[in-house]
């Protein structure tokens, strides 16, 4: 296990470095000089040159990268030239909102997906199974922004049960806070459950054909016990991986959902930075999100190895 972790960490470092390099290159090589953005169109060439010097933009690009990397490694992602807030501060302020949203979405997705997958696997081939597999396939074609519009129309406009937009901090009003997350969480969960259900269903169908399940049945164990204890764990390997892979999609989804429902999370920070052309925030958030995503995948890899001994003994 230690060797496995070591190998994965050795792989992690170059990927993280490459991620910083790419984030830096996107921000530096693409057209649009930061000094012009800060000073505006009316700036004189002298002023621009002076600011370029101050910001180190007149240095060779590899030096700029190394300076920037040095700052990043010390936790200094820069400071917004619009609000004066440091990037790290802005991210830390908004991170809890995004994490809460993703948790609500993933848990809701699992709560819908797992029971449906088990029922479909047990009754595979039945009408219920075919209807559910069909709807799952259909739901995969519903982008988050469509689901959001539909949910807002149903629950906020027609039934007037839930707020369409807005945010209340958990500390002020826990119940109100949760109410704010119902529609955004459900929006994302609607995209999650079909993926989770399809994966678990097909693994579960394969597991239920194993000899030891027949054995358990022959011993007279209760069907529920067989399903939940004997069949669920060995069937959930792919589910874990997919849950991990989904985090990338989920992050993309939070961008949209936070914008639609006006939740002050990382996604809205990023979209807002684009609207106001606040490139320092943009660069910092992209780096933070990509690095976080790489680390999440690393953790999922580890989790996978814990669940499946074959992987840590070097067969993968």
């Amino acid at each position: 296990m230690l060797g496995f972790v070591g190998r994965r960490i050795l792989h992690l470092v170059p990927v993280l470095l490459a991620v910083t390099l790419m984030t830096f290159l996107i921000a530096s090589l693409l057209p649009g000089d930061l000094a012009y953005v800060v000073l505006g169109d009316q700036a004189t060439p002298e002023k621009v040159a002076a600011l370029r010097h101050d910001m180190g933009l007149d240095q060779p690009i590899y030096w700029r990268y190394l300076y920037w990397l040095g700052d990043v490694l010390q936790g200094d992602l820069g400071r917004s030239f619009r609000t004066g807030q440091t990037v790290l501060q802005a991210i830390i302020e908004r991170l809890p909102v995004s994490i809460e949203l993703m948790l609500v979405a993933e848990i809701t997705g699992l709560l819908i997906g797992i029971p449906l997958a088990i029922i479909c696997a047990v009754k595979s081939g039945s009408t219920f199974d075919r209807v559910m597999t069909g709807s799952a396939f259909g739901m995969l074609s519903v982008p988050a922004f469509l689901a959001a519009i539909l949910l807002i129309y149903l629950f906020a406009v027609q039934l007037r049960l839930l707020p369409a937009t807005g945010y209340v901090p958990f500390g002020e009003d826990p119940l109100g806070n949760l109410r704010c997350f119902v529609l955004p969480g459900l929006t994302l969960a609607l995209g999650e459950w079909p993926v989770l259900m399809r994966v678990l269903r097909s693994d579960m169908i394969a597991t239920l054909q194993e000899d030891y399940i027949a054995m358990a049945r022959a011993k007279g164990l209760k069907p529920m016990r067989i399903l939940l204890v004997h069949a669920l764990k060995p069937s959930s390997l792919t589910l874990v991986t997919v849950t991990g892979i989904n985090i990338g999609r989920l992050i993309g989804g939070t961008l949209i959902v936070e914008s639609i429902f006006a939740l002050p999370g990382i996604g809205r920070l990023l979209v807002g930075a684009i609207y106001t052309r606040d490139f320092i925030i943009l660069q910092g958030v992209v780096l933070f999100v990509a690095a976080g995503f790489v680390l999440m995948n690393f953790i999922v890899d580890m989790l996978y190895a814990v669940l499946d001994p074959r992987i840590r003994h070097g067969r993968a």
Partner: protein
Amino acid sequence: MAALDLSIDTAAISPARRRQLGTVFWSAVIWIAVIGASAAFANLLPIADPTNMDMLGRRMPPSLEHWLGTDGFGRDMLARLIYGARASLTVGLLAPVIGGTIGGALGMLAGYFRGRFEALVIGSMDVLLAFPPLVLALAVTAYLGQSIFNLTMILGFLGIPAFTRVARAATLSLAQREFVTAARALGATHARILVRELLPNVFLPLFAFFLLAVAVTIVVEGALSFLGLGVPPPAPSWGSMIGEGRESLEFAPWLAFIPAITLFLTVLAFNLVGDALRALTDPRQGAL
């Protein structure tokens, strides 16, 4: 024993399934054809100008003059829907072509030559995959500026890793097969083996994946335009139409729902056709 049962199972199900897919599959194909044709010949169709505003006739319900009504600026919804199809399909088809060509070539070369080149390709793809696609697309659009061309290039670039994986996986297994060994024994060059022996076999799984990629690309383009960061206004795009329609959900919900349903049906159609083709090329995935 269990594995053997399983393979017999799928072999027995597949042909029946293929026949069952019939109507749904063909309706999807027809829908794609209709949307594609109306987008391609939008200029020739007897429809209004999609950017022509009429402030007196705003948010009109469907009528003989405006079959699907008018939007918040009094623009004809049907015309905007058809011209929107143009934007969505241009980006949706061209971006995967770019990603498929580059990614497919890289994947085949990596799967065929193996060694250091393969390690380099996989390594670079790992880095690209480290960015959540939508985040990267947003960031690059922010720097490059909004235009259909930029959007197509970015989304095409983002599609490369996935196509590389599909092409590499297919090439890896094919390169071990007898017909490749036979071609090599006959003295065929690497280029000839890649183009004449491997490409025809890799093409079908790549094409099935291409259709699924079209669906994903249309969704991403829609999402970006919905946020106002995709196709630049006033040119219509389904995503921006849905975004504009959101403002009037309370009193004119159809303004959001008409483009939403069109987008959904188009994405669903590409998914259905792509999935059916994939099931044909890869019987193991049939259970999913």
